[in-house]
Symmetry: D2
Subunit: 190 residues, 4 copies
C-alpha cells in the first residue's frame, strides 16, 4: 500500500485462495465479480463475536441487497483449533444457522495449521473481519471486530455509486484495534 | 410528483414550517442546507415506536456522520394529544434523553390542533417518519415506521456520492404501510 | 428499622398516598392487598431508564404472574418537571404504551412540587424503583435502578412460598447506588 | 409418573449418565447434590437456540445464584451430527465462550449415535431443555425451548423455599411444544 502525502491509495484485493465452497455450485473468484461490490465476511464457527454479531450482520446484508450488485461472501478462516473446525463441522454449522450465501474455506499450504492463505494475504488480525471490495477489485474497507450497520450500509451505498472502471480512494482506513491473541466480545484475534 | 413511464421524479422537499427550535441558536431552513444530505426525523414524545426505535436511530446517525456533510434534524410533529406535548414537555424530553441534534417544532395555522403544517405538506402518515433529502433539496426517501440501519446508511452513502447541482432520481420509493389511526410497535399513524 | 446482630427486620410498607388512579375503578390500598405479594413499580413518564427498562419489566411481571397472587402496581412518583407530568400526560402515556396494570399518582401535600408523599415515606432515591412487599405488608426488596428478571422472579417465588401471617426477614437489603441528581441509563435520581 | 385426580406427582430425576466432564475435577452426580436446587441445562454446540439464548441464560443463572444452594450443570446431549460434536469440539466451545459451570457429556451405550442415555431417560424432545430438580431430587420443571428469566427465577425461588426432606408437587408441568425434527429459533428437536 503506497502512501503519498495524505492520500492513501487502495490496495488491490488479493484473490481468494480456497480449498472448497458451500452454497455455490461453482467456486467464486473476485476476478469474476468485477463490477459488483463484494462484502467479504470472514469468520470461525467457534468465535463468539462471529456467531453472535458478525454472521447475523452478514445475513442482513445478504437479505437487504440485490445480489446482482452486491455479492456477499463468507470465508471460513480457521487459524486455531483446526482439528474441530474442518469442512464437516462447517457444513453442520451452515445448515443449522440457515446460512444461504456462498462460503469459501480458506486454504492452507499443507496440513491445516496456523493462519490460512487468504487471511495471510489480507493481513487480517482475527475474526470476524469485514472487507469491502469495490467494483474494480480494490479493498475499500477492512475492519476487524464489529462495525455498525450504518457504516456498512453507508460504505456499500458509496461504493455502488462509483463507476466501474475508475480507480477509487479509501472510504475508510482499516483500523487495527486488537492486541490480544484470544477471543473476547469483539472477536478472536491471531 | 410527475411520472413518465417508469421514471419517477423526486419531489422538491417543502420548506420546514416551525414555531420554534431546540438545540440550535438559529432556526434552520432546508434552503440553507443545500449541499448537505438532510436526515429529517419526525416524532412525538409519547409515540412508543419513536422513543424506542426512531429516536435512538436518529442519535446513531447524528453520532456516526460528519455534520458538515449530513444534517440530522428532528421535527416534533404533534398530531394528537396536543395539550400534553407542548414545547415545555418537549424540552424536558430532549433534556432527559440527552438529544443533541437540532429539533424543530412543527407549526399550526392557529391553535395547536390536528395535523401540523410541515407534516401536512409532506403528506406524512404518522410518526416516526424518516425523510432523506438530497444535496439539491429533493426528497429521496420517505418512510413511515421503522427502517433498518443498513438501508438508511446505504441511502446516505448513495446520496453523498452525488454531485450537488445535478438532479436525482428516487433511490427508494415511499412505502405507505400504515392503515390504522393509532399507535403500535411501529409507530403512531394519523 | 431495628437491627440485632446480623438480623435485619423488614420494615412495614407505608400505605400508598395517592391523588388518583388509572386502570382501576377503585383506589388500591396495601391494606386491602394483604395475602398477596405486591410488586410496586415507581416511575416517571420522562425518565428514560423507566420507559426503556423498568416499565417493560413491570409489564412482563404483570403478564406472567397470576393477579390473584401477585399484584403489580405502578406509581407515578414525579419529583421534577412537575408541570409537564400531570395526570393528563400520564393518561396519554399509559394509553399509548398500552399499560394495563393499576397505576396510582403519588400525592403532594399542596401544589405539585418536590418529592411526593409516598416516595418520601419509602425514602426512595429516584426512578425507577422496584419495591416488593410480602403477604403481611413488609418491604422485602427495595431497589433503585435496574434489577434483573432472574432476581425479581426469584424474589417473587420466595415470597409467595411464605405463609401469610408469619413475619419475614429481608430477602435482599436495599442497596442505595445512586449519587447524582439527574437521569442516566439507570434512571433518574433525586 | 402417577396421576390421581388433578394432582400430578413429580418424577424422581434419573441419575446423570455421562462419559466425561468439563469444568470440574470430579464427576457430578445428582445423588451428591441432594439439598441443593439443580438447574440442568442441556444443549448442543451447533444448536442456534442454545448458543444464542439457552447458554447465555445458564450463565446468568450461574452468576446470580449462590453455588452452595443452586447447582448449575450443563449437559452436552448430542443427538445429531455426532462426528463433529465430540469432546474436543465441546472443549473448544466451552473455552471460547468462557463457560465456567460444570458440563457433563451425555453417554451412549456404544458408539456415539442417536439419542444419548440421559436425554432418553428424561424423555427430552430436543435442545435446549431446562430441567429444575428440587432438593430431594425430583423434577419440578422440564422445558424444551425457551423459558423466560422471570419464570426460571420464580421457580428457583419457590424450590429454594422448600424444606429438604419433604416431598413436593410439580410447580409447573412440562409443556411439550415441539413437533418438527430440526432446528429453529427455539431450538433443535429430535
Amino acid at each position: 500500500m503506497a502512501e503519498s502525502g495524505n492520500t492513501i491509495r487502495a490496495m488491490k484485493a488479493p484473490e481468494l485462495q480456497t480449498s472448497g465452497w458451500l452454497n455455490t455450485a461453482q467456486p467464486l473468484t473476485l476476478a469474476a465479480l468485477r463490477g459488483k461490490v463484494v462484502v467479504l465476511h470472514t469468520f470461525q464457527i467457534f468465535c463468539p463475536g462471529c456467531v453472535q454479531v458478525g454472521i447475523p450482520q452478514a445475513q442482513r446484508i445478504y437479505q437487504e441487497f440485490d445480489p446482482d450488485r452486491v455479492a456477499v461472501i463468507g470465508l471460513h478462516t480457521v487459524f486455531e483449533h483446526h482439528s474441530v473446525m474442518g469442512r464437516d463441522a462447517l457444513e453442520v454449522f451452515v445448515h443449522e444457522y440457515r446460512l444461504r450465501f456462498p462460503i469459501g474455506i480458506d486454504r492452507y499450504d499443507g496440513q491445516p495449521q496456523g493462519v490460512p492463505s487468504t487471511m495471510r494475504a489480507y493481513q487480517m488480525q482475527g475474526t470476524p473481519t469485514l472487507v469491502l471490495i469495490d467494483k474494480n477489485g480494490y479493498i475499500r474497507l477492512h475492519k476487524f471486530g464489529h462495525i455498525s450497520d450504518l457504516t456498512v450500509g453507508f460504505s456499500i451505498g458509496a461504493l455502488l455509486s462509483e463507476e466501474a472502471g475508475e480507480s477509487g480512494q479509501i472510504a475508510e482506513a482499516a483500523e487495527p484495534d486488537a492486541e490480544n491473541a484470544a477471543c473476547d466480545a469483539d472477536g478472536c484475534s491471531i
